[in-house]
Amino acid sequence: MGVRALGWLAVLALIAGLGTAFGYAPREAVQGNVQRIMYLHVPAVLTAYLAFGFVFLGSVGYLLTRRPGWDRLAMAAAEPGVIFTGITIASGSIWGKPTWGTWWTWDARLTSTAVLFLVYVGYLLLRGMIDEPDRRARAAAVVGILGAANIPIVHFSVKWWRALHQPATLLGPEPSPIAAPIFLTLLVNWIAFTLLLLYLLAKRTEIARLEDMHAG
């Protein structure tokens, strides 16, 4: 499938996601309509996990093979990963104000997510500071591998420490307790965000390949 076709598929999926979030999912009984932020917040963080998984994969691949394609994959995944983590933090903060009464608190989940964001912002800054391609790729790969260790810390922080944030709705050890329409809406939005990530990844990788070609 071409990159453009993948982009259009992502757009259609995002429209379907918005349709389910605002037209199909019911008004939540306790929080009211503000709970609809969940259909943005949860898929955004799951997509960020996936993006950083690609960074890990690309980093390991580069250290094992020294092929620049793996480094390009890692770099191309880090950018949308940072963006989706930023969206997670912003949407969570906006959701927190009416429900918790505060924009931010140093809760384990929030703090570990902020650390995740800063680690990968650091990863991108590091890449910008080293000119020599092999040295840059090696240093970035080490950060890309070490940074991935933070993903389980973020995800399980609500179980490991006493937190204000609710326990995992999806990907938890127990079966999900949420109602079917809410689960389906989350699933549609999760698929839409994943398609968007794959599109951005494909486009950014191609740009990096052309940039390398011009530089070389």
Partner: protein, 42 residues
């Protein structure tokens, strides 16, 4: 609990602006590179 629609629209609005800005940045870089490639092969 009140519905707080303004918070809902703010959250989706921020996400839309950030994603669109990133997509536009990628599109501009791709266009610039395509022009450089065309100049090179001409």
């Amino acid at each position: 609990m009140p519905d707080n629609w303004s918070y809902v629209f703010a959250a989706y609005g921020v996400a839309a602006v950030v994603l669109l800005a990133y997509w536009r940045r990628l599109a501009a870089r791709a266009k610039n590179l395509a022009a450089r490639t065309a100049r090179r092969s001409a």
